[in-house]
Symmetry: C2
């Protein structure tokens, strides 16, 4: 059991941007909201999966919408709790614990925010272990927990409860609501008991965000190489294998907004080393160097600026940036056959087979 | 208290097509479903508003979607009851009575269908007194009942509960769900007590459908003028004033599908009489003869084929049809200032002021 206080938020946000692998939205605004909630209501208690009761009721919460809209249309303060309260009222039972469904990007903040606002503890775990664009792309769903019933809340206080037997269809119908709620809804989903959470959630991902953030911050302060320090730190976690894939300059960028996603390709070039091409759909999906596969989803591909090791989100990529590309192995629970069928290459329409980053050149 | 049995369905469907004023969808398929439900579960008990208990819980039910889709994509048998059951489960209370929200068109059948399937009685009343394209266009909403919470169910058994404080926004968000449910959702909405129903509902509209249907059928059988017989019958109801506006041939038709609606204009011509132009948005909204206003929404404009007095829906209008256009005064509860603000000319973006059909040439 640990406490999350004001001093922890910047580190968690920094680590969550790294885990966001280009997507998930910048956690900056969500971290400001969370700062205010903690300042007002006090620090948040976070339990590990092992510490929670088997019969506790856990909700996975976060936002559903377009990251590009999130920057311009800020959530109402009572919007995220409204989703939790609506689901509680529908179930006729209070949630004992809140959890992230997406530890990467801005959704890293939402369980902390909701926990502070509602005076509940949270669980140190999530369903994506990074960021993914769709609701069914969670280990919860892969291992048999159901997203429904789930609640969506708008900034007007409007709420909807969805009860849909298939999480991919839930994503489709839910997205229809989100669009009409102005591409920004708060969500409370995957109501499950503690026993189930222990089986289907990825452990320790909120504290991992914090550890990554602390690591990067300390490297910067000590003027140490942040990349090797981060690689060393990650080697001691269930994310295990991390490496620098490439270092160079952004020389080409194709990015379009299609079906609500930022879809495109970034090319990074270095004299003597050739080019690294990274395809993205909100998140970075696959990296190829001169046609050779270097890393592929669900393994993490992260682009950081070379100087400060600041993770760069897809929408902030610019021509001329000097960047370092890292790859990190996803934890084992995300690499099973069942998991790869949902958020491996095939989940994104890629033709490549998944190969673990540690087996790639 | 009366009973609706198999022999009543064709008459109700015929009258509902008349009250649909061109919209609301052809009740044919819904009447086949209802025929089967009654054959299996027995006749349905229908109470008048005066007969229901003040504390009874009433749901307004029907379908939400595109009438054009309804013809091709038939509802699953358990889809309409699924919406009622979802709303009951959300409220933690069973509905005592079902009611139509739209007596015109195919939605006339849905409370009968649901009542038969679920073994409940229904109320002889509705919220539109005709057909209208949007959820907030009901006297329920005009006089302070709220559409929410309401349930939408898909043919997959998926259900959603919406809790939205404003019925126009509920229409907008609900429509987003309906689109992703394949433009065909079953709905249970406007949960209200009997006391409220007595205040906000339009009385007697299901039995009015039946009376219209019986009247047309008997005129046909007796080779009597069906139009004058219908006008005489309606003069004894709260729809009061009915008349033949025009008789002629369809000589022009512009119809396009825009935002899910059938929008357009039909021109009817008669030598020596000039032309009558009728604008429609699913329903017939306004009729003008050589520029002179003859009838306008919410008063009813109905186009019937001249020979058989069969009401013609917007999507079945064809060049060359010989038609008789009737106008009928809407009941007083639909003509108040508050009602006109929602489903009078301004509700459809028309610039004309409402003038009662009995005051028009």
């Amino acid at each position: 059991m640990i406490e999350i206080g004001l001093d922890d938020l910047d580190d968690i946000a920094l680590g969550a941007t790294f885990l966001g692998t280009g997507g998930g939205g910048d956690p900056y605004i969500a971290s400001l909201m969370t700062r205010r909630a903690i300042a007002e209501h006090g620090p948040v208690t976070m339990l590990s999966l092992e510490e929670i009761d088997d019969n506790a009721l856990v909700f996975a919460c976060g936002n559903m919408g377009a990251p590009t809209v999130a920057i311009e249309k800020i959530m109402a303060a009572d919007q995220p709790p409204a989703a939790v309260l609506a689901l509680e009222s529908h179930l006729g039972r209070k949630a004992d614990l809140l959890m992230a469904f997406e530890a990467g990007g801005s959704n890293s903040m939402m369980p902390i925010y909701n926990a502070a606002m509602l005076g509940k503890p949270m669980v140190d775990a999530d369903g994506m272990g990074r960021a993914f664009p769709e609701m069914q792309m969670v280990t919860f769903s892969v291992y048999g927990a159901l997203g429904s019933p789930f609640a969506l809340a708008s900034e007007h206080g409007d709420t909807t409860i969805l009860d849909i037997e298939d999480d991919k269809r839930a994503e489709y119908i839910g997205r229809g609501i989100v669009i009409r709620m102005g591409a920004r809804s708060a969500k409370a989903s995957f109501p499950m008991d503690g026993r189930t959470a222990k089986r289907v959630a990825i452990p320790g991902t909120t504290s991992l965000c914090q550890a990554i953030g602390v690591n990067l911050r300390r490297s910067r302060a000590a003027n140490r190489d942040p990349f090797s320090a981060l690689i060393e730190m990650l080697s001691g976690t269930h994310y295990g294998h991390a490496k620098v894939l490439f270092r160079g300059k952004v020389t080409d960028l194709i990015r379009e907004t299609r079906d609500g996603w930022a879809i495109g390709k970034v090319v990074i070039e270095e004299q003597g080393e050739g080019t690294l091409e990274i395809e993205f759909q909100n998140e970075f999906l696959v990296a190829r160097q001169e046609g050779t596969l270097r890393a592929i989803v669900p393994d993490l591909i992260c682009i950081l600026d070379t100087e400060m090791a600041q993770p760069i989100t897809t929408e902030r990529l610019r021509y001329g940036q000097r960047v370092t590309v890292m790859a990190v192995s996803a934890p084992p629970i995300m690499r099973t056959e069942a998991a790869l069928a949902v958020f491996g290459p095939v989940g994104f329409g890629l033709e490549d087979r998944f190969v673990p980053v540690e087996e790639l050149p």
